[in-house]
């Protein structure tokens, strides 16, 4: 296959962080090339250099179809046929589907808008990949999966020869992921090169021909996907070995911390009853829309139920706000870390201590600097958050490290009940492992944990007991150590 793009000696530094160090990479037309590595290993940075958003340091070379550049700008990169679908999709929520797809036609000097041409472009792009969305709907009214399709259509409209997808599957359900992977194969058939970044190694191996592994900004190597498996990749990415599984322990003698009886909320979930014991990790899984997140929000006081009861340590609880939930020792790590969990413009330190300001308050309600710093440092260390300065805004962290800040923030409240909603979406495996480790540690100390996840292995290997939810109801209950992935998969999809 012909080489489409070649990178040589690419390095990039941000302040004290060496995001990329002397990386080489070749991409061929018509191949699916996966980029894997832990959080902060430099994947997104590499993409930004290819798309011209950031220049590499001197000495680096970018060769596209035998034309050489020392750096690119976004317009050159687009003209060369490179299209990036960013983690955040980079869409315009205020504009229609058609205009988002045809937005490239607005570039350049003053000219009039040809709305028919924009619609035609959008239609053609959708036909090329076989999707069918209403052209006149605003993107803000679309689901995440459909927004992603819009982003892919935009790449198609620009006649892309290289489409780079940065963690495209992080917020999709399994069903949507399958559709996306099918689409990736379709693009490949058209001779388009696809670079695919993901932390779900099973996906990577399913779709890739070649895999490039980055570790700490350095390239470990490029491998044939056929010769790889999850385990080998994980070792290459981290240099470590991993062991999963949580032994079954007898929890029946433990005190019940949280219980619900016939909890219901119209349109969200119905008749939910379960007990959660001290030190127990209770997994909840089910398809998107099964009411998992709505239930979790109710337990956290944010989505009041309209029937049934919640008991905490034997006392009936009627939560009307998350403040009350926090005061009662309930913590919630959100599914959508970007919109619910963090204030992206604020510093890492402020984000970490925001939940415990009251506890840190000293003289006249001021926060003593020393106490603040020591708390922050402790969590940064305990969760191995990769950061050069805790006073930098959270948005300068890589996606996975942002997730760890969310965790730090809630763990700092010393909760008795910790609800984790898809805590490892977008987190690399060694960080995942770190998070599981922390969760187990908390459980061993008596914290009761609810672990909500799409990923069946995640709940299977890291919970004691698993509840399956479907259409707002609990449809099954399993002991983790007596169950298997297949059994759970059948139960979820039944």
């Amino acid at each position: 296959m012909p080489t489409f793009l070649e990178l040589t000696h690419i390095s990039k530094r941000f302040g004290g962080v060496q995001a990329l160090a002397d990386v080489d990479l070749t991409l061929e037309s018509g191949e699916v090339h996966c980029l894997v590595g832990e959080n902060g290993s430099g994947k997104s940075t590499l993409i930004k250099i290819i798309s011209g958003v950031q220049p590499p340091e001197a000495g680096g070379k970018i060769i596209i179809e035998s034309r050489e550049y020392s750096h690119l700008n976004p317009v050159e990169s687009t003209r060369a046929g490179i299209q990036v679908i960013y983690q955040d999709l980079s869409l315009f929520p205020n504009l229609t589907v058609a205009e988002n797809i045809g937005v490239g036609q607005h570039l350049g000097g003053f000219h009039s808008v040809d709305w028919n041409a924009i619609r035609a472009t959008a239609k053609r792009a959708m036909e090329r990949i076989g999707v069918n969305l209403d052209l006149d709907v605003k993107v803000e009214d679309l689901s995440i999966a459909n927004r992603q399709l819009v982003a892919i259509c935009r790449a198609m409209a620009a006649d892309a020869k290289l489409v780079i997808m940065d963690e495209p599957t992080a917020s999709l359900t399994r069903h949507e992921v399958d559709a996306l992977l099918a689409l990736v194969r379709e693009l490949k058939k058209k001779g388009i090169c696809i670079v695919f970044v993901s932390h779900r190694l099973d996906e990577v191996l399913e779709v890739a021909e070649r895999v490039t592994v980055l570790r700490d900004g350095k390239k470990v190597g490029t491998y044939d996907a056929k010769e790889m498996n999850d385990h080998k990749l994980a070792v290459l990415m981290t240099g470590k070995e991993f062991h999963y599984d949580l032994a079954g322990i007898d929890l029946s003698a433990r005190k019940t911390v949280l219980s619900t009886r016939h909890l219901s909320r119209k349109g969200d979930y119905k008749d939910i009853s379960f007990d959660l014991r001290e030190g127990e990790i209770l997994g909840i899984t089910g398809l998107l829309g099964s009411g998992r997140t709505e239930l979790a929000l109710s337990l956290f006081g944010m989505n009041p139920p309209d029937g049934g009861e919640i008991h905490l340590n034997g006392k009936r609880l009627a939560l009307t706000s998350n403040r009350e939930a926090i005061d009662n020792g309930i913590a919630y790590v959100s599914e959508d870390r970007l919109t619910l969990g963090l204030v992206l413009e604020q510093s890492i330190a402020s984000n970490t201590i925001v939940t415990i300001l009251d506890k840190l308050k000293g003289f006249m309600g001021l926060i003593p600097q020393a106490a603040r710093q020591s708390t922050v440092d402790r969590w940064v260390k305990d969760l191995s958050i990769k950061v050069s300065n805790t006073n930098n805004p959270v948005k300068t962290l890589s996606g996975g490290n942002q997730q760890r800040v969310v965790l730090a923030k809630w763990m700092a409240t010393a909760p008795r009940v910790l609800i984790l909603d898809s805590p490892t979406v977008g987190v690399d495996i060694s960080a995942k492992d770190g998070i599981y480790e922390i969760v187990r540690g908390l459980a061993a100390k008596g914290v009761a944990v609810i672990l909500i996840s799409d990923e069946i292995p995640e709940v299977l290997y890291h919970s004691h007991r698993i509840l399956i939810m479907r259409n707002g109801r609990i449809t099954g209950e399993f002991e983790a150590h007596k169950s298997s992935e297949d059994v759970l998969r059948v139960a979820v999809n039944a």
């Binding site: 798309s51 958003v53 700008n73 976004p74 317009v75 687009t78 990036v84 960013y86 955040d88 980079s90 869409l91 315009f92 929520p93 205020n94 504009l95 205009e99 937005v103 490239g104 036609q105 607005h106 570039l107 350049g108 003053f110 000219h111 009039s112 808008v113 006149d136 803000e140 009214d141 679309l142 689901s143 349109g267 969200d268 829309g289 997140t293 709505e294």
Partner: protein
């Protein structure tokens, strides 16, 4: 077509239009003077100033910025232009060109400060409002200009028509300028790529940058356009008032902002239409005028305007929340 209508029925514009219709019907029944040709003509003439500024501010809000210094800009443009017009005679074309150039120049100052120093637009424009206004009052000593060139005082009338009570109607300078500026703004926003770039910028600034849109150039265009509308508005206001007073315009910024926000523009950027702004302005005008005709004190009128803005913004926020929830449970 029915689909488009369904979409329209759910829109902010539809809501506004309904409220305006109810008010108009109510006021026509309750007062003598509301639904008269003369009152409508007066309303159009006297709200032209706010309307022209609203069209400029709309563009700024869509881009994701804000400007409140435009009343000071207008005061300066008005003062300089009329001073020179008195001295050198001049003509319509030159005075409008001059006021526009002054407005554009001051707008460019805002744009450069906002873009290059990366300070938020609200802070920059609060500062420039005070600087521009302070300088003007200091240099002029707050002195009015009472005598304007005769051709200017006389104004422009097209299609003049005098009714039985000897009151004349027609397309005057104010109405003409208002129509021209609304049309121009609509054309820019909907028919040129630059207008669409402004929506793109307001919708997602970072994505716009990544796709290679020139953010600095857009900022310059947006704030200069605001300045241009301030220049034009200042002259039709001077013509209507038959004098130039350096101190009367500053303070009207919030009325303009009220009209644009009522019209559905969002301070977060990316959202807003000329049609909505026209409706917002109409609602403001009908409310203020109606309350006067009903004999309600003008302090109450402010109270009601505030209340309506609050209601309108809450309605928008609520429907947005419902929509988000819809997506979540999809």
């Amino acid at each position: 077509m029915p689909e488009n209508f369904a979409r329209f029925r759910r829109s902010h514009e539809f809501w506004l239009l309904s409220v305006i219709l109810i008010l108009v019907v109510g006021l026509s029944v309750m007062t003598e003077g509301f639904l008269t040709l003369q009152n409508l003509f007066d309303l159009l003439t006297s709200y032209a100033f706010l309307g022209i500024l609203a069209s400029g501010l709309l563009v700024v809000l869509i881009s994701g910025g804000i400007d409140i210094s435009f009343t000071a800009t207008a005061s300066i443009a008005q003062y300089i232009t009329m001073l020179l017009a008195n001295k050198y005679g001049l003509n319509w074309f030159i005075v409008f060109a001059m006021a526009s150039v002054v407005g554009i120049g001051l707008g460019a100052i805002n744009a450069v400060l906002i873009d290059r120093l990366n300070i938020s637009s609200i802070i920059v424009s609060i500062a420039t409002l005070n600087i521009f206004y302070g300088l003007l009052v200091f240099i002029t000593g707050g002195k009015y200009i009472y005598s304007l060139p005769p051709w200017f005082s006389h104004g422009i009338y097209w299609f003049e028509y005098v009714d039985a009570d000897e009151i004349s109607y027609g397309i005057n300078l104010q109405i003409l300028a208002l129509a021209v500026m609304f049309t121009l703004t609509w054309l820019i926003l909907n028919r040129t790529n630059i207008g669409r770039q402004i929506y793109v910028l307001g919708g997602n600034r970072e994505a716009a940058q990544r796709l290679g849109f020139n953010v600095f150039r857009l900022n310059i265009l947006v704030y200069c356009y605001m300045g241009l509308t301030a220049g034009v508005a200042s002259l039709i206001q001077a013509q209507l008032a038959q004098s130039v007073a350096p101190t009367v315009l500053v303070g009207k910024e919030l009325d303009v902002l009220a009209a644009v926000v009522l019209g559905g523009a969002s301070l977060a950027g990316g959202v807003g239409t000329v049609f909505g702004t026209i409706l917002g302005l109409t609602l403001l005008a009908v409310m203020q005028n109606g309350l006067i005709l009903l004999g309600v004190s003008s302090y109450y009128s402010q109270f009601f305007v505030g209340l309506v803005i609050l209601l309108s913004v809450s309605a928008t926020a609520l429907s947005a929340r419902r929509k988000r929830k819809g997506v979540m449970t999809e």
